[in-house]
């Protein structure tokens, strides 16, 4: 279990983390969702005792991250956002190194990494620096797991990784979770959020919402409409002028229009558009995605400040 209590961190005038509180339950796959610069990495680096907080406390399985940092490191596996293995060592040597540092052997915990490591084992004599992006990612995860950690902290493991490899990576995380490992993982890809048990939406060092993905999508506070038209860019510009509209954004070939609860109907939206010679279109209620939720909360935060 990870308990974060009012963690605070500033860099000069920039607030990286503004009194963030959060609990990740034992055995949970918890996602930290937000863009670059939101504070995801700062939070993870503080939890891994690579950075000291300016205020607040946190514990990992009961161990204080500042006072007991050496013990914390023994029970956690960490995969930083930037590839941080030894490029001059081979695949096998890297793994060997991390096992030795933690006083264990590859053989002892091989079952934990077997499924992941098998995919790169044919290249075990290749230098880590010469691996492709996907293979580096698998090696880094293997190294983070080789000492049988109770908690895994993964900083944007899928950034810059193609859609197929991303799906595979999340499948691996699900299997690790099934082994009882508590996982805190960050990502800027909002479509990955739904795989997590619970997620936190983070922006500008603040948690905007912490919930299960489903509850978050169902709790969408305003009306959301899917608008389809032949001239999507044009329609989007027109909808920007719809009275009391909150936002209009494209989601692939569909526009997502947000209006205040109860304010509009498909009819009233169509009527507005037909006033502007736009009639070849459909408007229907839509279910919010995590990205819709994120955009709405971001707009709300902007409106307040």
């Amino acid at each position: 279990m990870i308990v974060v209590n009012e963690l605070h961190k500033t860099y000069g005038e920039t607030v990286a983390l503004g009194k963030v509180s959060l609990t990740v339950k034992e055995g949970e796959l918890f996602g930290l969702i937000g863009p670059d610069g939101a504070g995801k990495t700062s939070l993870m680096r503080i939890l891994m005792s690579l950075l000291l907080p300016d205020g607040g406390t946190a514990t990992m399985n009961g161990l204080d991250i500042v006072r007991d940092y050496k013990k914390v490191r023994l029970i956690t596996g960490y995969m930083p956002g930037k590839f941080s293995l030894y490029p001059d060592l081979t695949v096998e040597e890297n793994l060997q190194f991390f096992a030795t540092v933690f006083g264990t052997t590859i053989q002892e915990n091989y079952h934990l990494i077997k499924e992941i490591y098998q995919q790169i084992e044919p290249y075990k004599t290749r230098r880590a620096g010469k691996l492709s992006g996907g293979m580096k990612q698998k090696l880094a995860l293997s190294c983070a797991l080789i000492h049988k950690p109770e908690i895994l902290i993964l900083d944007e493991p899928t950034t810059g990784v193609d859609a197929v490899s991303r799906k595979e990576f999340w499948e691996m995380l699900k299997r690790l979770k099934a082994m009882g490992i508590t996982i805190l993982v960050s990502t800027p890809y909002m479509d990955e959020a739904t795989i997590c048990d619970r997620i936190a939406l983070i922006q500008d060092g603040h948690l905007m919402s912490v919930e299960t993905p489903l509850a978050m999508m169902q709790a969408f506070a305003e009306d959301l409409w899917a608008v389809r038209s032949k001239k999507i860019y044009h329609t989007s510009k027109l909808l920007g002028q719809l009275p009391s509209m909150i936002s209009v954004n494209s989601f692939g070939q569909v526009l997502h229009l947000v209006t205040p609860k109860g304010k509009h109907t498909p009819q009233s939206i169509k009527e507005f558009l037909s006033l502007h010679d736009e009639s070849e279109l459909t408007v229907e209620p839509a279910l919010a995605t995590i990205e819709d939720v994120f955009i709405l909360l971001m707009n709300n935060r902007k409106a307040k400040s």
């Binding site: 670059d36 950034t159 810059g160 193609d162 197929v164 800027p188 909002m190 494209s250 692939g252 971001m298």
Partner: protein, 242 residues
Amino acid sequence: MITKEPVITVKNMVKKFGHFVANDNLNFEVYKGEIFGFLGANGAGKTTAIRILCGLSTPTSGEMKVAGFDVFRQTEKIKQNIGYMSQKFSLYEDLTIYQNIRFYGGVYGMKVAERKARTTEMLDRLGLTDYENRKIGDLPLGWKQKLAFSIAILHQPKIVFLDEPTGGVDPITRRQFWNLIYEAVEKGITVFVTTHYMDEAEYCDRVSIMADGRIVALDTPEKLKEQYNASNMDEVFLKIAR
């Protein structure tokens, strides 16, 4: 306006590194004024192809023209006629907005008066006129990306290459960025873009998908979805690239 006038023609493009074939006989055209999505899994050969089309790498064989210039013999001409932006390489963090613009204007050989006029127009459009003396390093990522794109097309290139331009930015900025792309297209610039966001693939006029050094699919998003019986591009990509 999309025409059938090609600004990039690629015929039998092959690039080998030793025995490894990174680009295995690619054939396609990019039309003037279109948004051309260039997708593929990591290691499929996208970066290799982009480097060749930007005049940064010499292909092993084939017949390729970019903006009317030959990729073997006229790479300097190509570089003058294209813009390039990626998530990794964009602007100089230690220089101000103004200094970056001046630098790139100089690199592209723009005349001073022309550069100044376009700079004023661009900063005004982005709402950054009051910030021209801010260092790039002090700007939020979203601003940096928008600026980097605007500077990449400051010299009004025929084609702009965007290599994962929206990685890591928030969902609102990501969409604002695409509005900038549409504006550039309205000015007649052809856009060649790679992305890992499959919803963005739907914003392209045509999409090509690479796997193992070959182009395995190339069509409009609509037709690809039809052909692969998929409801969105994510499904198309998973069916093809897996």
